[in-house]
Subunit: 350 residues, 4 copies
Amino acid sequence: MQGAVLPGNSTAEIRSYAVPEPGWGQVLLRMKSSTICGSDIRAIYREHLGKGPEGYQGVIAGHEPCGQIVQTGPGCRRFAVGDRVIVYHISGCGLCNDCRRGYMISCTSEKYRRAYGWQRDGGMADYLLAEEKDLVSLPDALSYTDGAQVACGFGTAYEGLQKIGISGNDAVLITGLGPVGMATAALCRKLGAQRIFGIDVLPERLQLARKLGLCDEVIPSGPNNAAEILALTSGRGVERAVECSGHPDARATAIRATRRWGRIVFLGEGGTVQFQPSADLMHDQKTIYGSWVTSIWRMEELVERLVRWQLFPSSLVTHRFPLARVGEAYALMATGRCGKVAVCFDEEES
Amino acid sequence: MQGAVLPGNSTAEIRSYAVPEPGWGQVLLRMKSSTICGSDIRAIYREHLGKGPEGYQGVIAGHEPCGQIVQTGPGCRRFAVGDRVIVYHISGCGLCNDCRRGYMISCTSEKYRRAYGWQRDGGMADYLLAEEKDLVSLPDALSYTDGAQVACGFGTAYEGLQKIGISGNDAVLITGLGPVGMATAALCRKLGAQRIFGIDVLPERLQLARKLGLCDEVIPSGPNNAAEILALTSGRGVERAVECSGHPDARATAIRATRRWGRIVFLGEGGTVQFQPSADLMHDQKTIYGSWVTSIWRMEELVERLVRWQLFPSSLVTHRFPLARVGEAYALMATGRCGKVAVCFDEEES
Amino acid sequence: MQGAVLPGNSTAEIRSYAVPEPGWGQVLLRMKSSTICGSDIRAIYREHLGKGPEGYQGVIAGHEPCGQIVQTGPGCRRFAVGDRVIVYHISGCGLCNDCRRGYMISCTSEKYRRAYGWQRDGGMADYLLAEEKDLVSLPDALSYTDGAQVACGFGTAYEGLQKIGISGNDAVLITGLGPVGMATAALCRKLGAQRIFGIDVLPERLQLARKLGLCDEVIPSGPNNAAEILALTSGRGVERAVECSGHPDARATAIRATRRWGRIVFLGEGGTVQFQPSADLMHDQKTIYGSWVTSIWRMEELVERLVRWQLFPSSLVTHRFPLARVGEAYALMATGRCGKVAVCFDEEES
Amino acid sequence: MQGAVLPGNSTAEIRSYAVPEPGWGQVLLRMKSSTICGSDIRAIYREHLGKGPEGYQGVIAGHEPCGQIVQTGPGCRRFAVGDRVIVYHISGCGLCNDCRRGYMISCTSEKYRRAYGWQRDGGMADYLLAEEKDLVSLPDALSYTDGAQVACGFGTAYEGLQKIGISGNDAVLITGLGPVGMATAALCRKLGAQRIFGIDVLPERLQLARKLGLCDEVIPSGPNNAAEILALTSGRGVERAVECSGHPDARATAIRATRRWGRIVFLGEGGTVQFQPSADLMHDQKTIYGSWVTSIWRMEELVERLVRWQLFPSSLVTHRFPLARVGEAYALMATGRCGKVAVCFDEEES
């Protein structure tokens, strides 16, 4: 089979591999769709920057895989050949306290924690070897490209939104309209948010958010963003803010544009933040939540809701490539001038 | 001025009164709209059944008043002549712990707690004497008949929904589609509820709920209601249930039709409930909330949201009467075969 | 090896078994301590009453086992020979949504859900075959008899207390002072409860609770219990109530003796409850939580806290028996006139 | 009568005033105890730095007053001559949404919001004119000097602790052991905190905290504080942190020394904070709460708890002065080398 690795010099390289054999509790997936995450670009594609959980170990890339089971190893209890499945993108030990809560993202076992596409082979290949315990059932109502985005992008957004609570009571500000920001907007809409405001530095993203009907108002990133949001909310600010950019200024904007008693969640990775606690946080009794990815049980909950909502994450995909052109896929994603980019197989290709 | 009292024999009696003079911290309202609540029928109109907070003391009836300030007493700080206002329907002492939380409904002062329309003159008159501290500002976007329903019906529903949390994550069951149940449905829609199911014993109410688009499915009250709701939710049950009927069977249905980890809130008054804690509650890790009316600050929050949502409570009003025909208004409400019934003045009459 | 089964006629029968061999992901434990739960008496010992999750299938009894690993099968990742371990008492499929939350108690797999001592061999034997995924590490600071009580009794109590929140802000009422009620009292003390009141029908239990310093006041069960608790709390009621008896009257007492805005949790199994929602729940804005056992990650959290608190569950054990006298152990527990009863091995025997 | 003003040059000046006459809804208090807050020193005593809510308008100083009612104006409903009372330190309009929630601290009325000792006469005088609505009843079990510290110091601490929740489950870090930090430690003890760690820059404060038994461990402020706290908690960090210093480094320490899923609350005023969201907050799923003072109803709740706990805030007072020596009182407080400092009258003087 073929698989793609990322040497760290802004290229992708296709290599040949033997098709793996599933062991105890493992399954072999025929890959169907594998989407690219911002963190792939930031920490692997351009340079191998990541350490620890973000350390890339030269494996087949792709941590947003979705496919169909073609072989099961011994000891499988729930899934069978033919099942359509999403893969939770970090395989944890399954036995530490974090894994037992379902948050394999923060598995504390140095020996067993392996992210697909970072420390064990990921989805940019014809086949993927996965642990049964990492699988989430993909309902017929969702396509594989819908499913590929559940684990990382939509799952991360959904977790953050559950932490702060979103309903029709809330006007919501989203800073950063990359894939996680777009997923946040789509989910806020279905959760009932009364109004959705988006801020980004790239005009293409603002246009896409408006075109897809994800935001009610979009605003280019700038020094007066907090004041602009206050002006759009009768001077009160938004009830909820979701920071998806990782930029220090956007983080400060998210805090300052939030109303008294409001809640802010940080989802964007990297960098720093600085603010003035008295004026920005305390005197308005606000709360800032940190959030990281999600649990596998909440990911199942999200999949159930996507079907009930008829919300299809693949609508955020603007470009699809076959595996043979995986290099173009990463190169496009690196420009930021696109929506989500997917590498697709079989029926998902067209 | 004219005002209506309820002798307790299923009639209303109009009497003449002197127009009252506002004292310190008081205002005089020209009444504009005064709606009838189920509790008026249950505890006063047919018979004087109530005790304590529900004891009727022969005053002018009507605890859902909305009007315009025509005179202010000394010491008023926020409101002025010409202001359009809703009246929180219980005047508390303002100084006990419950009043300080804004929940005048449970004011602990025997001497000062007085419900409008029960222990002090209410809204079924040309003018109403109210305390400034009991007023909520009525925005221009809402009519007086919208405002009349905020205090009791919509406020009670909104409080219960805030306790259990409603968003697009939730399918909701409402048992009992009287005024509070209808208000619950309308608010659930705006909070983003994914699906809304309604149960009632009266076909007229089921039809009205469907006609107004408040419920996605309506079901006549019966012994298999819990099973019917399970069938409508892929066997899972609803995430949230709101009990608005006060009937023992409906209460048990609300508990049993709720999903694992779900929440139920009781809003309907009177009677008892019986269930089996192991099977009905504990093994599914469910929670039952008791809720009573709301606080004045949450009522202000609700009014702000009604405007943002463009939700007009007056859309639940099916019949309007002038004060001179107040007897017909109560008689109709007593049949239950109607939506909300309002006694209106001036521009609200038509 | 020897193991005890419960024929359902108020006896225990010792039989001989081959020592089992651990398969993939399994371990063999040398049993050290195995305590008896009230549910063993209620649903198995006297008669085989249980169904579904409580259906006894003639296996070796004992669902509160604690021991030491003497052999590991292939695929074990965290635990090794020599490790001291507690067993979460229900072995779930490990892959359904409930198992993924850590709540194997409500595993939805008919095929794989097996409670130790009910549907698969339990702790009343020389050796026990367990799944590695069901194990909780027992710190050196705790004895095996401490550990035996974590899974069922203390875990159930801890979960309920986490749901309602207990701190120095709270006076707490506990109805029912059997093993779960005693565990509740011991945990409330360590969580900081300001005062702890206990109610039971048996004088022996009231005396034991007082002797062990678990309750500040104990009251015999009776028709005036709610009024008695109000009298002990300046007429306010307790901030939190924990129902551990399963008796309808005690449940109503727990609700009625709770203060405005207070919380009640139901832990005691079986039977019914009846109350008047308006007066008992709604007008005081109270909440009733259902709770069932706990998750394995919270059980680990509990074990960490027991060490930090220097709280030793074995202090509730009033009688220890060797396996050869297991019949006496069950017979004593069936009288209710004792604390916790343990069947012990090796160093735990004395 | 005599009263003290603060000219802003590190002195206090005693002037003569007419005894005021209570108007509608007002009372006259004979002052008994008036404590000095850190904010008096920071924003008034050395220089008049404050603006808006912290703008000093040359009035009699002292915003932590406690005394006895000697005269009541017309319209008083709850309090009477002879009553012992605490004063909530900000008099709000009583009618805006914030006041209706009980948070007069954030009253939105520019015309009516007046802090005692900042914009209306405060407690450093023989008599104080207060609004009945601002009073909290002082139980006989507490002294006036206990009461003086409830409004500002203990109230602020209690609110922050209610936001993050403190129980026996929690080890707690307190950064900054001034009056609010000391109050926090005393309250954490009564709420059941398992261990309490304190950090401050002044050795005198560390010694006092240890001497009074408020902290289990005290650590001098330094660059390795986060690592030191991790070392004291088996590498896990504290479950809860309360930032009382307002210093940027201490804020970062509070965040970093907190355990996965833990909660931090900011109480210390002024300055900035900077941290790295990914490592410091998000990857450990932590939450930061802003908190400002408290509501009057929670202040009443606190007073009830102080009595139940037998916790006497006056134990933090290290020095008492008569009004005639008020200048010495402020001068001592400005050194920071003391506990709480009180100006006392009558029976509180000794």
